[in-house]
């Protein structure tokens, strides 16, 4: 066994030991508040066990290990269905950005440890009503300068802002230059005067996204991350951090194995469903697709292990796996007939077909819409031209709304 194998076995053993306390069964029937409280206890336990902040440097309270360690742990953790959703954004993007761009290292270490232990939560204030795929089109204003800033505007889609203590924020500090160039990055105190958080409900019933309003919110220049006008590249660095996040060839829906087991007792026109050519085709093709994505992921891990940069094909996972999940989930409901009509709001998407189905469109938006992923593949990997963008090079305040 390699060191990595030993470490992975240790992680597996620890997760197994705490699964009864924190896993899927323990969470069943909890309200979101209760689940969050359980999640905070899990995060604290994980930190004590030494599996928190795997890629974060030791001097900031992390483990200082490789991205590969993180991928391995995240995969095992996802299987156990631990209550980690509330801390996903919090620990993934804001902490590395703070470490990289914030000068007060002692303060950063305090924040990192508190976030890793689930005591504090961070959110990411990026998207706006008029700036989703086109992030650089954002309108939230940051006025002022080195003497201090005032923030006004509205963010949207801010995940778990309702529980957040802090956030990282991108705002427009100069509307007279082209849209990518007038942006500046900050961290903000979500409890500061003038910050209003309004949770709203998603199509699947979840209440995890928020509108966040900034009404003359004062922010010190020491809260600025990166240079004035350099916000877009900080945001891009933030989004790049997601790249090696645990990917799931099932698109975070149920597995093909679960599909097969669901079908085993069912009939189609009086014959076993698993004998029907259409069903067999769906099983075979979706399995082949997901196996391919899995093989891509495993090769990427081998490359990382060998100290090489993994190939760009890792970008395919979300695009292909979530579409597979969407159609497979629709079919799973249809094949169950009357039993497919039942619905339990909030059921775990990896174990429940209706939940998987109704949440799939959200996954096709989160972390880059399909169309943006296709553009990225076409432009960055295949060298195809950017499509027409009439606002290119135009000062922001001269772009028609």
């Amino acid at each position: 066994m390699t060191d990595l194998d030993v470490w992975q076995e240790r992680a597996r053993a620890w997760l197994a030991s705490v699964e009864p306390e924190f896993g899927l069964r323990a969470r069943a029937g909890l309200t979101q508040d209760e689940d969050l409280a359980l999640g905070r206890r899990y995060m604290a336990a994980k930190h004590e066990a030494g599996f928190s902040g795997i890629t974060i440097p030791i001097e900031f309270g992390g483990q200082g290990l490789s991205p590969l360690h993180k991928v391995l742990f995240d995969t095992l953790e996802a299987k156990a269905a631990m209550p980690i959703g509330y801390f996903g954004v919090s620990t993934a993007m804001p902490l590395p950005i703070l470490i990289r761009y914030c000068d007060d290292k002692a303060w950063v270490r305090e924040r990192v440890v508190a976030a890793l232990r689930g005591e504090e939560i961070w959110c990411q204030l990026f998207s706006e009503p008029a700036a989703g795929s086109d992030l650089a089109g954002l309108r939230t204003k940051a006025e002022g300068g080195e003497q201090g800033w005032t923030i006004n505007g509205q963010k949207l889609w801010t995940t778990f802002a309702q529980y957040s203590d802090y956030g990282i924020l991108i705002a427009r500090s100069d509307p007279t230059v082209p849209k990518h160039k007038g942006l500046t990055f900050f961290w903000v105190d979500m409890k500061a005067p003038g910050v209003t958080v309004r949770p709203f409900r998603l199509a699947n019933g979840d209440i995890q996204c928020n509108e966040v309003f900034f009404d003359d919110v004062a922010v010190a220049d020491s809260q600025r991350l990166g240079p004035i006008g350099g916000g877009f590249s900080v945001a891009m660095a933030t989004l790049m951090i997601e790249r090696y996040a645990a990917s799931d060839a099932d698109g975070f829906g149920p597995s093909i194995g679960a599909f097969v087991e669901m079908l085993r007792p069912l009939t189609i026109n009086g014959k076993p469903a698993l004998k029907d050519g259409r069903v067999r085709s769906v099983i075979a093709r979706n399995h082949a697709l997901r196996q391919g994505l899995d093989s891509i992921r495993r090769r990427a891990m081998l490359a990382m292990e060998a100290g090489m940069e993994p190939g760009p094909e890792g970008a395919l996972n979300k695009l292909f796996s979530v579409r597979s999940r969407q159609k497979l989930s629709e079919l799973a409901l249809d094949l169950q007939g009357s039993a497919g009509l039942a619905y339990t709001e909030g059921a775990y998407t990896k174990a429940d077909w209706a939940s998987s189905w109704i949440g799939a469109p959200t996954m096709r938006q989160a972390g880059g819409a399909d169309e943006m992923l296709l553009n990225t593949i076409a432009e960055k990997i295949l060298g195809l031209p950017q499509d027409h963008r009439p606002d290119k090079g135009v000062p922001f305040n001269q772009i028609p709304a």
Binding site: L266, E330, G340, L341, P361, E371
Partner: protein, 365 residues
């Protein structure tokens, strides 16, 4: 031959659309999603007031003596606004079952009341994952029913239920007065205003409508007629979702232009237009073939293309709407939910593929 809607039919479609647009309330529809056992009473009283319940009932029983074409027109408009009650389709199923019966007493008791919208009906053919059964497990003996039916749409509110069952002499369709003679187990669903229930019959008294081979034939014809109405609803819903995508693509801007100028968006909406028009053409054709030898084939075509159109239109419309496609209040998920419930009710696509394949090949699966 296919048909062109005549002027009267066109006027009726326009009037239906106008009335439904005025009386539909998205907030109320969203509330219904959270409430099991409730329906949109405004939609239903509108349907009764407008005489939609009487459309396809013969004049002799107080109806208007029209047929599937006119009822289909209404269904299409109801689908467009994701109507909040399933009674029109299943009421028609009950009307068909009564007309297939030779029991004039039952006909004169129920048809006028169905025409007036005084009673709500459900049709209970499905058992577990199977939409229709060659040999239903529900048994009819000595005037009483024993057994269970699954996922009956409208089941939570129905006053009368048409049930397929096995009797000593073969298959039967029977009529049950719901009242308190049956146990209804509510299904909490993703589309609660469909009022899904499992029904347990434990000695419930029932009256025979049709028996023997005629019962099987009637059941298939009733299923096909209801499926044609559902297909109209699906085509209407698909068109509404397609138009929502079109409108959003014109209004929403990104990178300095309306997103509808990006080919990935505009071509997808054009494809949806094609699926909607193909489904609609099949619906109109099927409605016009009611009573002919190729009706089942035409109904299957309508059903299959309508399922495909509604699924694709909701998937793509939600995707084109980006984040606003997945908020609760945006309400596009009403179409997404309805696409799924209508795809399951009355038999899924695989069921209709098999029926159509039998018609086209003469070979059973």
């Amino acid at each position: 031959m296919s048909i062109l809607y005549d002027e009267g039919q066109q006027a009726m479609a326009e009037e239906t659309r106008r009335v439904l647009a005025a009386r539909t309330d998205r907030a109320r529809q969203l509330e219904l999603l959270d409430r099991c056992g409730e329906w949109d009473e405004t939609f239903w009283t509108t349907a009764v007031d407008q005489g939609w319940t009487a459309l396809a009932v013969p004049e002799a029983f107080g109806g208007l003596g029209l047929g599937l074409i006119e009822l289909g027109l209404v269904a299409q408009e109801a689908g467009r606004v994701v109507s909040g009650a399933p009674f029109l389709t299943y009421g028609h199923g009950a009307v068909c079952a009564l007309l297939a019966s030779e029991d004039e007493g039952l006909q004169s008791t129920w048809l006028p009341r169905l025409a007036k919208g005084e009673v709500k009906a459900a049709v209970a053919f499905a058992e577990e994952s199977s939409p229709m059964q060659p040999h239903p497990s529900v048994e009819f003996r000595g005037g009483k029913l024993q057994g269970a039916k699954s996922g009956v749409a409208g089941g939570l509110a129905a006053d009368i239920v048409v049930v397929s069952a096995s009797a000593a002499e073969g298959p039967v369709l029977v009529l049950v007065e719901a009242g308190d003679v049956l146990e209804r187990r509510a299904i909490r669903s993703f589309d609660n205003s469909r009022l899904f229930a499992d029904m347990i019959f434990d000695g419930s008294p029932a009256r025979v409508l049709v028996s023997g081979d005629a019962a099987d034939e009637a059941a298939l014809d009733i299923q096909a007629q209801m499926a044609v109405l559902a297909a109209h609803e699906q085509a209407g819903g698909a068109e509404a979702a397609m138009q929502a995508a079109r409108d959003y693509a014109l209004e929403r801007r990104a990178f300095g232009q309306p997103i509808g100028a990006f080919q990935s968006i505009k071509h997808r909406i054009a494809e949806l237009y094609g699926l909607v028009e193909i489904a609609r053409a099949n619906c109109i054709h099927a409605a016009a073939r009611q009573g002919r030898g190729d009706f089942l084939e035409a109904a299957a075509c309508a059903r299959l293309s309508a399922i495909e159109a509604y699924d694709m239109a909701t998937r793509d419309a939600v995707q084109i709407h980006g984040g606003s496609g997945v908020t609760w209040d945006g309400g596009l998920h009403l179409h997404m939910r309805r696409a799924r419930s209508l795809a399951i009710e009355l038999g899924n696509a695989l069921f209709w593929e098999d029926l159509l394949a039998i018609e086209l090949t003469g070979v059973a699966a």
